[in-house]
Structures are given as C-alpha cells and as structure tokens.
C-alpha cells in the first residue's frame, strides 16, 4: 500500500463508449453510410483492376489539369476578394442598410451555375439583353472568361457566409489594443483583422475551390474544358467508359485532398478565434469611403442579382411576344418538386442516426462516421453519377435508370447538409436526455418519439430545406442517372440553353427560383430568429 504524502489519481473518466443505448443508432448509421460509400470505392477498384482502357493522351491530361487549375485559382481569388469585402462592410462598418446588404450579399448563392451561365449567354451576343442599346454588342465570353465570371460572382456569397461568423468572433480588444498603440485603420485591418481571419479565409478559399473543380453546369454551357466537362464528353460519347472512370477517380482524389485540407484548417481555426459577447464599435465610413463601399456593394448586387433576373424576364417577355411556345413544363415542375421532397425527407431520416452517433452517442468511430459523411458530400457530382452508373450496371442492373436509385443517390450526396443542422440542434441539449427518458420508464420507441425527434426537429427541418434546394438545382447526377425521358427543371434549363432556346430556359429558371423561395424563406427566418 502507498504511504507518505499520498497522491490521488486524477485521471479523467473514460469516454462514454459502449453504452448499451447507442447500439441501435450505430447500426442505423452503418446501414446508411456503408451503401453510400460503395459506388465510389468500387469505381476506384474498377480502375485499378480493369485498367484505363483507351489511354487519354498525356498532352490532353496536362491541358485539362492546367485549365481546371487556372479556373480554380482565378475563381477562388476573386470570390474571396468580393466575399471578404462584403462580409467586412456589412459586419464592421456603419454603412446604411447593413441588414439588407447582408442579405443581398448572400442571396446569389441560390442561383445555380448553369443559370449563371444562361444569364451571361442571354445578356451578350448579337441578340442578348445588352444589344437593345444600339451600337452596344458584347461578344458572348465563351471559354475561360465566361466560366470565371459566372463562378466568381455566384461563389462569392459562399465566401461571405464563411467569413462572416469568423469576423464576429474576433476579440475586439485585439483591434482596440492595436489602435491604442497608434496603428491606423488600414494597418489594423491588414495586421490584426486579416491575420486573425486567416483560418476562415483558407477555409472559404478551399470550399470555393472545391465547388469550382466540381462544377459542371457553367463550364459545360460556357464551353471551357475542365475535368468535369471532359468526363461528361468521354462518358456520353464513347462505348468504352473506362477513360471517364479514370478521370472521375482522379477528380475524386483531388476533391478529397481539398476536403481534407479544409477540415484541418477548420479544426485549427478554433484556437485562433474565441467567442466574445463584448460590444464592438463599428468603423465610421464617411465621404469617399462611404461612396466607394456603397458602390462596391451596389455593383455586386447589380451584377449578381439584377442582371440575371432582368435577363431571364427579358427573354421570357421577348419569347412570349414572338408567340413562342414555352412548352408545357408543369410536368417538370411536378417532377422536380416530388423528387426533391422525397429526397429531403429521406435525407432527414438518414441524417438522424449519423447526427446522434456524432453528438449524443459519441464513440470510437464517431470521427470516422463524420469524415465519411463529408467525403461523400465533397465528391464532385458528375463523378458520383459515373460511379453509381458503373456500379448499377454491374451489380444491380434492374435498378439502373430507375427513380429509386436516383433518389437514393441524392440522399447520399446531400445528407451531410441534414447531418450538420441536426448536429447543431442536438448539441444544444444534454446527451443524457435519452437515458433520462429510459430511466423514467419509457421504451426506446417512446423515447425516440417524445424526446429525440422533437429535440432534433428544428435541425431535421432546416436540413430538409437545404437538401430540397440542393436536389432542386442538381444537374450532373440527374443527367447521368435519370430514367429515360425524366426531365426536371434543372435538366430543362441546361438542355434548352445548350440548344439556344433561351426563352424556354428562362421560363424554367424563373420557375425554379419561384419554387425555391419557400424553403429559402424558412431558412432565412430561422437564421434571423437565432
């Protein structure tokens, strides 16, 4: 026995793992996650075992890689610049109408990239909106320029949304201390604010980059060759689909590397930023500064919101005037609405177990489950399409080109959105609540109905709204997996634009925006009431 000055062991309690009550949730998580992982893994395996088929010329690969890289760098830099500007101006200055500018800066995110491409194409060229002024005729910027413009403007809101919370978390005392030491406003911004924002900026940059390399809609319509466009061409045009598979695997790996880097910066960012409730003074903008700031926000809103809407309305009116047949698209609306709704509900059901095992029921494999969910979410959708098609053709042929498989693919691709909002809800409550209910004599089902689902409810709803919006906009996976003749609004916009039917494309675009409004308003309301 020990004696003398006796030290008492202060080891912390071991993590609550192996809880009996968490087994069901872990089983459900495995049932949801494992099938979702199979197609991408099997595609990679197929590439390894079956070879690469007709080799893609090395020069072509280099060209694709450089094209993708150039676009990614250009879009990331531009979107970060705009996003940092809008976030800083709307959060840290006394600009009039800040709340409205804040909303306007985030709003363009609802415009999918193929719709952005449509508005650029519809605004320029000999018959575009801008040509109504005599003598003005801007050639349509096909290629790099158009893709860069479309993606930058519509990804800047993403940067804005990632940077805003980080800006709010910077301790105002650090900036006050710098001012107290005699630093000018500019110097404070560059040496204090921006440096503390670095993790958020890196994170935002990587997210924008991830979206850029994954984008299919804008690059295909604006005819700029990147990996995604090449994959689609290889896939659609050839009997041997192995080259498309090879490119898909390369792009998947690229996306996962970016995701890995992003998750790492995010986990480190926590050390730099601490939450604070102290009020901060807003920076007073006067005279020229104010005019410049308003000009900047105004032109962004003009380019990202007013121009697109005007172009869409312009083509709709022009087509109706000319007596053009819009084509009945009630069917498309109905299809889009129903697949989006079903996928949103299923995604909520799939998300609940994952959210549970990563919050209340944490265990050895929690991080693995979370990583897997995000990895599936980060895969470029065109590659998911290629993988699911390949897997279906080989193993589950009867499901190939069925609605069921399409919806399941949507659920797998987007459930991460639902998981993340549900985690937020669950984290607000004690992880002992399920045990408390069981201890009070209620069985597992009654506990689920009366405690777990009501508490996860707001997150499940918000998640469903997000998934609904994503499925509504989804193009490449739908293109590859839909049953024959199954046209959604997104498909219709994309194909009509490609074929030059801008009136039809505009009508469908306006319809898509209109049906997106309800879930969008619900989400905004939730943000505001928080």
């Amino acid at each position: 026995m020990t004696a003398g000055p006796i030290t008492v062991s202060t080891a912390t309690e071991p993590p609550q793992q192996g809880r009996r009550s968490s087994r069901g949730w872990w089983t459900a998580t495995a049932i949801v996650l494992l099938p979702a992982l199979i197609p991408p893994v099997s595609l990679a395996w197929q590439v390894v075992t079956e070879g690469i088929g007709a080799p893609i010329p090395f020069g072509r690969l280099v060209e694709l890689f450089l094209g993708t890289l150039a676009l990614t760098v250009a879009v990331t830099v531009t979107a970060l610049g705009i996003g940092t500007g809008t976030a800083w101006l709307t959060n840290r200055t006394n600009l009039p109408g800040r709340k409205i500018w804040m909303l306007l800066a985030a709003l363009p995110l609802v415009i999918p990239s193929y719709m952005a491409a449509l508005t650029i194409i519809g605004a320029t060229g000999p018959s575009g909106l801008l040509s109504i002024w005599p003598g003005v005729e801007i050639p349509t910027p096909y290629g790099f320029l158009g893709a860069w413009l479309a993606l930058s403007v519509f990804l800047a809101p993403m940067a804005h949304l990632i940077i805003t919370p980080a800006l709010r978390m910077i301790d105002p005392a650090t900036e006050e201390a710098a001012t107290g030491l005699g630093a000018s406003k500019t110097r404070v911004f560059f040496t204090i604010t921006l440096l503390q924002l670095r993790p958020a900026l890196v994170s935002a940059g990587l997210m924008v980059g991830l979206y850029t390399i994954s984008d299919f809609g804008a690059v295909s319509l604006l005819r700029f060759d990147t990996f995604t466009r090449a994959i689609f061409t290889l896939y659609a045009g050839q009997i041997d689909r192995r080259p498309a598979a090879v490119l898909s695997v390369v792009l998947m790996v690229l996306a996962l590397v970016i995701l890995f880097l992003e998750r790492r910066t995010r986990s480190r960012a926590g050390y730099h930023l601490k939450s604070t409730s102290r009020r901060r003074r807003r920076i007073e903008l006067t005279g020229w500064g104010k005019a410049l700031a308003l000009g900047f926000l105004g032109s962004f809103a003009f380019v990202a919101l007013i121009v697109p809407i005007s172009v869409l309305v312009f083509w709709l009116i022009r087509g109706l005037d000319a007596g053009q047949d819009l084509g009945m698209f009630w069917d498309e609306i109905g299809r889009s609405l129903s697949v989006s709704t079903i996928a949103a509900l299923l995604a909520a059901a799939a998300a609940l177990p994952i959210a549970m095992v990563t919050t209340w029921k944490r265990g050895k494999f929690s991080n693995t489950a979370e990583t897997a969910t995000w990895a599936i979410y980060a895969l470029p959708h065109i590659t998911v399409g290629v993988a699911v098609v390949a897997f279906a053709l080989q193993w589950i042929r009867p499901l190939y080109q069925t609605l069921g498989l399409l919806i399941l693919t949507y659920v797998a691709m987007f459930m991460a959105q639902s998981v993340s909002t549900t985690q937020d809800s669950l984290r607000r409550a004690s992880s002992d609540l399920e045990d408390a209910s069981r201890g009070l004599g209620r069985g597992p089902l009654a506990t689920l109905r009366r405690v777990t689902v009501p508490l996860a409810g707001p997150g499940l709803l918000a998640g469903s709204a997000l998934v609904f919006l994503s499925v509504m906009k989804e193009l490449p996976a739908t293109l590859l997996l839909r049953p024959n003749g199954f046209e959604t609004l997104a498909i219709r916009i994309w194909s009509s634009t490609g074929e030059g039917f801008y009136t039809r494309a505009s009508a469908a675009s306006l319809a898509l925006l209109a049906v997106s409004i309800v879930p969008l308003l619900a989400l905004t309301y939730r943000e505001l009431s928080d």
Partner: protein, 341 residues
C-alpha cells in the same frame, strides 16, 4: 441497520467492466439497504459513475445486480432501464428542454394518476408555483429540484444521484444538500449518491462506500470511516493525515509523538490526523514550529520533529504559535498500518 429484518434494495456482485485501455469496474460489489442513503465516494476516474449507470441499466457489465430481490443484470439477464424502477438524477440534470416543469415531472407517470402526483411532488420540492415554467427559465438550484422531483414522481425503488451538487455555486451547495437529505428522509427513499467531495459524502450519508480503481475498498458510517480508515490511502483521501514510520514491538508502535497499541510486528506506518495532535509549551520540547495558517475558528500548525518529519496540528484560535518556537507535540490517537513509508 444490517439486521436480518432489513431489506436489501440493491445487491451488486462482482461487477466488472473495462473500456479500451482503462478498467472502469473491477469486481465491484455493493449492498444498499432499504431507506438508507449511501454515498459512493472516490477520486475522479475511479468508476463510480459507471457503477451507477450499470445499476440503472444504461451500460452493461459482467456480474450481477439485484433490485429488491429481482435480478436485473446477470448471465443472460438484462432488464432494460425503463423496467428497473430506478430514478436517476443526472449531473447536468438532463431536464427535457422542450417540456414545462410539470410535463417533465409527469413524463414518468401513468396518465391516469398524473394530476395529483405532479402537484404532490412539486410541493415536496417547494416549486409549486413554477410548474408552468420551461427548464431554461429556472436557476441551477431550481433545475436540480425539478430533476429530483421528476425522479421521485414514479415512486422508484431507489434513486441514483450522479454528482448532484457539482453544478451548483458553493454558496448554494450546503443548503441544497440539506434539503435533499430532508426530502429523502421524509419520503423514506433509498438513494445512492455519487461524489468526489469528501465533506459532502461525510455530511450527507448514512453509509459511505469508498471506491478506488473500480472497486469498493471500504464501506462504513461516516464517523467510523473517518476515525478508522482501512488503509493509509483512505485515511489521506478522507481528510488531512500525516504519516510516521515505526516498528511494531511487543504490542506497541513507538514514535516521536507517542506510542500506540498494535498487534503488528515489524515495519509499520503510523497515520495521525491533525485534530489528534496536541501542542503545548513548556517542558521537554520535542519539535519546532515551522509554519502556521490561521482560519479564525481554528488554526493549522505545522511542526518539524527532531527526525525532520513534519506533522500538522489543528487547534483552536488560542494560543497562537510563532515559527521557530520550541514546543511539545503529542498525538492522542493514531492508527497503525503494516508497511513502510
């Protein structure tokens, strides 16, 4: 207490459970008698919360648990928590945030009997007027009482309390503790409380079970435990204690501060509590004052013995001693254990 007529509410035998790298329970055995309040006391990480959760049915373990003579855990036996009639008060209270106080309390009772029972329990914990509040509108102390009321409402066979006072301000803690004791006594409820706070354990309980590395090392009434700890580690864990090396010889162990009865032979350890050490000025000084801390109602004087060993003495506010003074030190009570310092 432990007479044959008394009923055993909880009988746990040889509970054993380990996590990946750590042992949580190691042959843990415990008896809890009807109507008594037993405290599981141990340093953090000793497995006391795990023991509570195994008894409640939230976790499994090897071994057996009987509640009121019915086996709820054993080989091929696992009664789920909702069928155990065990009330649990969680460390963070785990009140359902989406339900009112009343709905929280009514959660564990049958609908038919809900009406009266809820009021009754609310009254018992003194919260009759707060029934329609939401949990987040209550203070920490009030939330704690709701958690207790909710656990009491279905008339469980036993109530388990996991560190129930740890989330309260120090100023509130004593009062809430006395209230809890009163309520449990009034309702004749059997309870097991888990804590790492020695004073809390000694002041609240009928019996204290000291846990160390997954097993119970001693069960006794608070006073007995404090004055007759089973080994030097328990002595030190329960309060201040100093140790002196000695040798057992002809029924005694000699030391610089007195000789103490023992049947042990060979090397021994003498454990002495500061309250048992007396200081006096005057003849035959055997120690020198090293330092003293003055608390008002008492003072703690540390003296250095001729051997260089230090012992502490807790005495009243008068007289005071200055460092460097030569004094005579004597222990009126000490415990002797086999072993070596």
């Amino acid at each position: 207490m432990n007479s044959a007529t008394d009923q055993l509410t909880i009988r746990a035998r040889s509970l054993t459970k380990s996590y990946d790298d750590a042992v949580a329970l190691d042959q843990f055995s415990l008896d809890v008698w009807e109507g008594s309040l037993l405290t599981l006391l141990g340093p953090s990480g000793c497995g006391k919360t795990t023991a509570l959760r195994v008894i409640a049915g939230f976790e499994e373990a090897a071994g057996t648990v009987d509640i009121r003579g019915r086996q709820v855990l054993g080989p091929n036996v696992f009664v789920p928590p909702e069928k155990r009639k065990v009330g649990m008060v969680f460390q963070d209270y785990a009140l359902f945030p989406h339900m009112t106080v009343k709905a929280n309390i009514a959660y564990g009772i049958n609908k038919k009997t809900t009406g009266n029972r809820v009021e009754e329990v609310l009254d018992l914990v003194g919260l009759s007027r707060l029934g329609n509040r939401m949990p987040n509108e209550l203070s920490g102390g009030q939330q704690q009482r709701v958690a207790l009321a909710r656990a009491l409402a279905p008339n469980p066979d036993v109530i388990l309390l996991d560190e129930p006072f740890s989330n309260l301000d120090a100023s509130l803690r004593d009062r809430v503790r006395r209230e809890l004791r009163t309520i449990l006594t009034e309702t004749k409820t059997t309870a097991v409380l888990v804590t790492h706070d020695q004073e809390e354990a000694l002041a609240t309980s009928d019996l204290v079970a000291v846990m160390y590395q997954g097993r119970v090392v001693q069960v006794d009434a608070p006073a007995k435990l404090y004055t007759n700890p089973a080994d030097p580690w328990i002595a030190d864990f329960l309060g201040d204690a100093d140790v002196l090396p000695s040798t057992g010889h002809r029924g005694y162990a000699e030391s610089e501060i007195g000789r103490f009865k023992t049947d042990l032979k060979g090397r021994v350890i003498i454990v002495v509590r500061p309250e048992d050490v007396q200081i006096s000025m005057g003849e035959a000084p055997n120690a020198m004052v090293a330092s003293s801390e003055f608390f008002g109602h008492d003072q703690l004087v540390t003296v250095a013995l001729a051997s260089g060993r230090r012992v502490r003495s807790r005495i009243g506010p008068r007289p005071t001693y200055e460092p460097g003074e030569h004094v005579r030190v004597r222990a009126i009570h000490a415990q002797v254990f086999p072993g070596q310092v």
